[in-house]
Amino acid sequence: MEITGAEITVRCLQEEGVEFAFGYPGGAVLYIYDEIFKQNKVKHVLVRHEQAAVHAADGYARATGRVGVALVTSGPGATNAVTGIATAYMDSIPMVILSGQVPTPAIGLDAFQEVDTVGITRPCVKHNFLVKDVKDLAVTIKKAFHIAATGRPGPVLVDIPKDITTHLTAFEYPKSVTLRSYNPVTVGHPMQIKKAVKLLLSAKRPFVYTGGGVILSEASGQLNKLIKLLGVPCTSTLMGLGAYPETDRQFLGMLGMHGTYEANMAMQHCDVLLAVGARFDDRVIGNTEHFNSEKRQIIHIDIDPSSISKRVKVDVPIVGSVAQVLDELIKQLQATKDRGDQAALKTWWTQIELWRSKDCMKYDRSSKIIKPQYVVEKLYEVTKGDAYVTSDVGQHQMWAAQYYKFDKPRRWINSGGLGTMGFGLPAAMGVKLAFPKANVACITGEASIQMCIQELSTCKQYHLPLKIINLNNRYMGMVRQWQQFFHGNRYSESYMDALPDFVKLAEAYGHVGMRIEKPSDVEGALKEAFKLKDQLVFMDFLTDQTENVFPMVPGGKGLSEMILAEDL
C-alpha cells in the first residue's frame, strides 16, 4: 500500500519512538501537521516561536540522552530555528530537525517563504539533507537519527519540500542504515590506552579534566570508578558538571574563566593531565601560550579526532567513546600492582588543599541586599540538590554553575558553547515534559528571560509547573561586569530600562508571580514556590545590582592569573 510523504514522516517518528515533537505549523508543513492530527503516538508540543521549539527539543535531549525532535515550516520557520540548531551543534546535542520547504518545482524561484535552509544551516549542523524524492524520505529520516545519535552527537536537519509530502510510495522503515562515508571510531586503540596507564602511574601531580563528552557517552559511572581508583583530584568544564559528584572532596569545582582557584591552579601546575571528553575551549584554558608555558604531559580521550590537538598539543591521543576507553583504562589499571607515586600524590594534595583554603567562592552572606549566590545556594538546599536546573546565559548562569552542587549527570542544562540567551525557559519545558514528577528550575536573569518570554504561554497550555528563578539586577550583568573591568565603567546599553512587572506578567499568562526583595524572604519564597506543585511560579528576586562573578580569568590572561573577589 502506498502512503503519502506526510504520513511517512510521522510514521518514521513513531518508529523511532519519538515521544514529543516540538514545533510550529505553517504552509509548507500543513500535510505533515494533518498526519500529526490523525494519530496520538507522537505528541506535538506547540511553542510560540521556532527558536523555542529547538531549545525545548534540546532540553529534552540533554535531560534524557535521547534524540530531540523539532518540526518547523519553511522560510522564517527555518531561520527562526537556526539559533536553536547552532546552540545544539556547539554542545554536541543529538537532535533531528524537520523543516518544510517550498514544493520542488518552486525551489530556486524565490517562492513565498522560500529560503535555502540546507545552505543556511550547513555550518551549524552535523549534517543536513534535502529530500527530492518521496522514495528517499524514510531512509533519509533513518539516516538523520543515526547520524544525530552516534559518534560525536549533533543536530541533523531534514528539509522536506511540500510536494514530497503529498507524493505516494510504499512505506518501509529500515531497521538500520550503513553509510560508507560515516563510521565513527568508538573503540580506543589498546596501545594508546596502555601508554596512558603508564603515564598516569608515573605522575607526580596528576589531574583529571572532564567535559560534556562524559555525559554524552553516559560514562559517569566509569569516571567515578577511575577517580576513586587513582585517588587523584578532578575538575569539570561547564558542560560536564554532574558527571562526577560535586560534593565529593576529590572534585575541585568547575575550571575556566569563572572556575575555582584550586581547579585552575591544579590545571596549570599538574604534570600529567587526563582530558576526557573535553576540548580545551578558550573559556577553559584562557591564554593558550600561558597554558603551554608550564610543562605537562597530556592524555586526551575524545570520540572526535578533530578535537584532539586542535588548540593544545596532546602527547597521548585516544580516539574512542569515553565510556569504552575508560572501561579499558580501569581494566588495565586494576590489572597492574603499580599504585603510582603515592608520596608525590600526597604532596600534591597538600598543595591543592592550600589552594582550596583560599575559599575563592566566599561572598558577603550578611548583605542586606539579596546576593544572587545566596539565592542559588538556597535553591540547592530547598530542592535537596536533586532538581533539574536549566539556565540562560550570563552572570546568573555562572552563579548557578558555581553554587548549585550537581551530583548527577544530565541535571545541569545550559548553553555552553554558543552562549544563547533565551535558552533556559524553553529548555526547561523539554525537561519537564520528559520528567513530569521532577523539580525543574530555570535560573535566569531579567535580560535573558525576555528573549523567549512568550513560552510562558506554552507552559500554560501544557501545564508545565516550572520554577523560574529570575535574578533581577536590572543590568545585563555579564556585559556590565566586563564594562566595569575593561571599559572604564562605561555601561554602554547594558542597563535594562523599562522592565515589565514580572509578577503581573506571570499572572497575565495564568501563572503565579512573586517578588522577593529581602534576603530573609528568599528561603521562604522558594519553599512556598516548590510547594505549588501544579503551578508555574515566576520568582522575581531583586538582587544586588553590582555583584560580580569571581574568580575571573580576564580575556587573554592565563589560568593562574585570576582576579579574586578579595583582590578588589
Binding site: 550547513r122 534535502l130 590537538s309 586542535k310
Partner: protein, 165 residues
Amino acid sequence: MATRHIISVLLENEAGALSRVSGLFSARGYNIESLTVAPTEDATMSRMTIVTRGTEEVVEQIVKQLNKLIEVVKVLDLNEGSHIERELMLVKVKAEGKLREEMKRMSDIFRGRIIDVADSTYTIELTGNGVKLDAFLEALDPSAILETVRTGACGIGRGERVLKV
C-alpha cells in the same frame, strides 16, 4: 612554517557535497589555492584535489575536519609520500606576423599543443605542474597573452600507493 599541501578527497557524488567542503574552508579560515573536482570511474563518487597552504598543525586539522564531513569517504595528504601533480592550461595568444612563428616555437619548447588556430590567434594547450605553467606564461611577452584558463592541480600518489574505497 606554512607549506604547500596537495590533499585528495574521495566523496559521495551528491548535490551540496562541494559546498560542504568549500564552506568548511571559509568557515575555519583555511586557505585554498585551487580546488578541482570530477566524478571517478565509480559514478557515485567524486574525487577532489585541494591545494592548500598551512603549518603542520593547520594541515592536520584540515585533514581531520574533512574526514568529519559525513559525505567524505577518504582523505589523503599526498605530501605524505611522493606523488605526481598535473595541471592543464589553455592560453589564447596573439599570432600575427612574426609572432605566429614565435608562438609555435615557444609552444614546442614547453611541449604544448596548438589546438585552435584563427587568423590572428592560437590557442595553446599545456600540461604540467604549476611551476611549469607559470614558467611558460613568464616566457611569453605579456602583451601577447589574450586569455588564460587553468584547471587547478590534480594529483596522484606514485607507485603502488592507491586512494580507493
